[in-house]
Amino acid sequence: MPEIFVGKLWDQLVSGATASNSEDTTVLFEEIVKPASILFRALGGDQGLALKTAQSTIHQGKQNWLQQLSGIEQKVELAWCDDEALYLPASINLLPQDRLNRELYFWLAALAVEMRPGLWFIENQQATLRLLEKFPGLQARYQRLVYALLSLRPEITTLSYDSAIQEQAIYQALIKPGSISLLPSAPNPWFPIYLWFHPTPPFGGNNQLIPPKKLAEFEPSDDTQSTAKDQRRHKAERQEIQERKDGFMMFFRAESILTWAEYIKVNRPTEDDENTDAKRAADEMETITVTRDGKQTASRIRFDLDLPPEDSDETKLESGILLPEWHYKKQLYLKDYCCLQPVVATNTKTCQLPVHLAAVARRIRHQFESLTSVRTWLRKQTEGTEVDVDAYINHLVEVKSGTFKTDLQLYKTHQIQERNLSCLLLADLSQSTDAYVNNHARVIDVIRDSLFLFSEALSATADQFGLYGFSSLRRDNVRFYTIKAFAEKYNDQIRGRINAIKPGYYTRMGAAIRQAGKLLAQQTTHQRILLLLTDGKPNDLDRYEGRYGIEDTRQALREIRQQGIKPFCITIDEKAGSYLPYLFGTGGYVVIRQPSELPRQLLSLYAQLTV
């Protein structure tokens, strides 16, 4: 990723400028993401926000400052948040001890909890005040960080008069948060303030292609340079803004636009520069997104599709099963919003178990046969493996009182209890399963093998099972494939259907889960389990991604839990760690790092889940 590369370069420069042979004090985002998210939530942060890495932002202050040093244009990673995520730098090594760099990460995670909409310069100070008041334990840490970071700031004596006044104000605002209400302007931009959040999200959420619209909006209207490409992009983007309007994403609100205007005014020395910079940033953004989303085709397609107007999104759906969807911002169900199309492949060729699975299948079947039953003690038996002491004592009492019966039941024995369980395996058949996991297999191949082995194993038990798959292309086309209905016998025809599964489009998880829940609810067994097999997050073209998709999925899971169904998720999305607990709870999912492990893991999991 280019920005990381540039970041590295910058890091080298800085360390070259400060200490030549200091050890590496870099703390990576990956190292702190889990504890920092926990801290964020514990201090009251939004449970649904994910922590992500920030993309670097062109920061004029740093650029100029560094230009003096090296003549190289620089980008700097600042933290910011929106309603999808809290973005933190991919790595921090500003400070001479890794402990301090780590503390800076934690500080940002904590400060994020208190950030409210408002003027950037004031709000960062106020949030700091509030946080320190609520959690006074952070005061020592704050001071430590302030002093460490102040020492990185430019010497006031080296600055021009205006810049010195400005720098003085920043100093004061850091040392005594809340004490400065106005940032004096200066022709040159200031050096970045790493303890604070960035005034506005420089770009949209991570995988949404929203170019820096604020820059665009503040381009002078007589800008004749903008190309057709730009226009198209801005059109798509406007819709995004529309969608966000009702939300609580306050950073996008008018007051923050003011902030941004102010920011630009202060930052951009001349109008000419502003235009070229804005352009360059936008273009760079585009390239970054394209290179970034090797996997995220959704955002690229969204970009190219030139999205239809919002109204056409409201057209009535005709055939298929209508299902609701949860709109988390509105906190209500969109009734009959999704149309699910049940699909059964009819003309698939029958087939036998693939030979490469034969040996494993035999072994697994054998193991699973022992799962059929639960052993418990059966008391008061006429025959049995052990004496039932209770029954015996009772018998003695009865003998004494002369009321004993002749059919003596003085033993206990093991009872074999039939299991009473149904399991629905729901496989994600989205486009991303087309990706290769190694030289010979794609995700879909691994899922196929898993379905085979799972079926082989379960048909050796008395457990009821069904196999289904899903993929979607917008809300009116959620395809729900029946591979094996509960009532169907597992045979060569079913094997043929398993063999025929192939990657589809997107992942509208909520609808699929709701439908799976309906099917499971029809099962009369004592226990009902939904096993979701997936390789990524919920996503679809029409709004269904990021937080929206996750919240709908979460709601769908809540619904089926209420019906007494136990959901469990197996995923091969390495980055899934952050949102899965939010959906499935701790212990409600496993992340499989090595996709080829999936079949084996699936079975051992099943065994554990159902005991």
Partner: protein, 276 residues
């Protein structure tokens, strides 16, 4: 019944203590309990672990001057363990009342803690006792006991795993008066911590703030939630001279997780409350 179980039953066979144990009410549960007692209705208390259920029942028993029979249910607990059984000694066999039977005979309060853990067959003896008949048939001795007005059945469980009510007949289910306990609000919890340990107000406040921060992690990051009990333990350690950070680590953090990364994160929360 195993020896241990008999022992527990005997040990908790407490007679109306003259001193009423401290209890900080959440809301109007004291009045509700008294109402149920006066109307001879069974009471069901739901709530997470360590939120004061046991303490509440002890408090109420003392207040109403009734003996309390507490049974901690477990998955091996059968109806026989509650009702009683024949035992053998040198001179032969003799009948030994279980805690439920004793509570009925003596007009006491029988408290079945974590009732869902008990075997299914326990419901059979509870039915006639909790519906309007209020009787306890002792199959083994041929007796049928009529519960006196002072007898009361209280059951508790931690919802989330299973529902106790589902296993009950509607006629029984509808008679239960239900109470849901949650954690106390901050000011109340501070009172408890101070009353239980004699710790100073400032520390009590910090501990309660820490606890509520940790409670925000329920479901998402932690399976267990920091209970008032754990807060009281931490306060007791501090009162005994432990450094707050170490006390919180020992009594709260390590009790909530085994995962090292999560431990580190929880310690960050401790630092945010207590400093480093």
């Amino acid at each position: 019944m195993t020896k241990a179980a008999i022992h527990i039953a005997a040990a908790t066979d407490q007679h109306a203590a003259s001193e009423v144990p401290f209890y900080q009410p959440h809301g109007d549960e004291v009045e509700l309990f008294e109402h149920a007692y006066n109307k001879q209705l069974p009471l069901l208390i739901k709530g997470p672990t360590g939120c004061g259920k046991t303490r509440f029942v002890m408090h109420m028993a003392a207040r109403l001057k009734r003996p309390l029979y507490t049974v901690s249910c477990h998955d091996d607990l059968t109806a026989t363990d509650l009702v009683g059984r024949h035992l053998v000694n040198d001179s032969g066999t003799y009948w030994n009342d279980g805690p439920l039977t004793r509570a009925v005979r003596n007009g006491g309060i029988c408290y079945l803690d974590e009732i869902v853990e008990a075997r299914k067959d326990t419901a059979v003896v509870l039915h006639p006792l909790t519906d309007d008949r209020r009787i306890l048939p002792l199959e083994r001795t041929g007796e049928t006991l009529q519960a006196p007005v002072q007898f009361m059945l209280v059951v508790s469980y931690n919802p989330g795993y299973q529902s106790f009510l589902k296993g009950m007949k509607p006629s029984t289910r509808q008679r239960f008066v239900s109470l849901r306990f949650n954690f106390l609000d901050a000011a109340q919890e501070q009172q408890v911590v101070i009353a239980e340990t004699g710790i100073d107000l400032v520390t009590a406040k910090q501990l309660v703030k820490l606890a509520s921060a940790l409670r925000a992690l329920k479901q998402h990051d932690l399976e267990e939630v920091a209970s008032t009990r754990l807060v009281v333990y931490a306060a007791a350690l501090i009162k005994n001279g432990f450094a707050p950070i170490e006390a919180c680590r020992a009594a709260l953090v390590e009790a909530l997780t085994d995962d090292e990364e999560v431990t580190a994160a929880l310690m960050e929360v401790v630092y945010a409350c207590f400093g480093e």
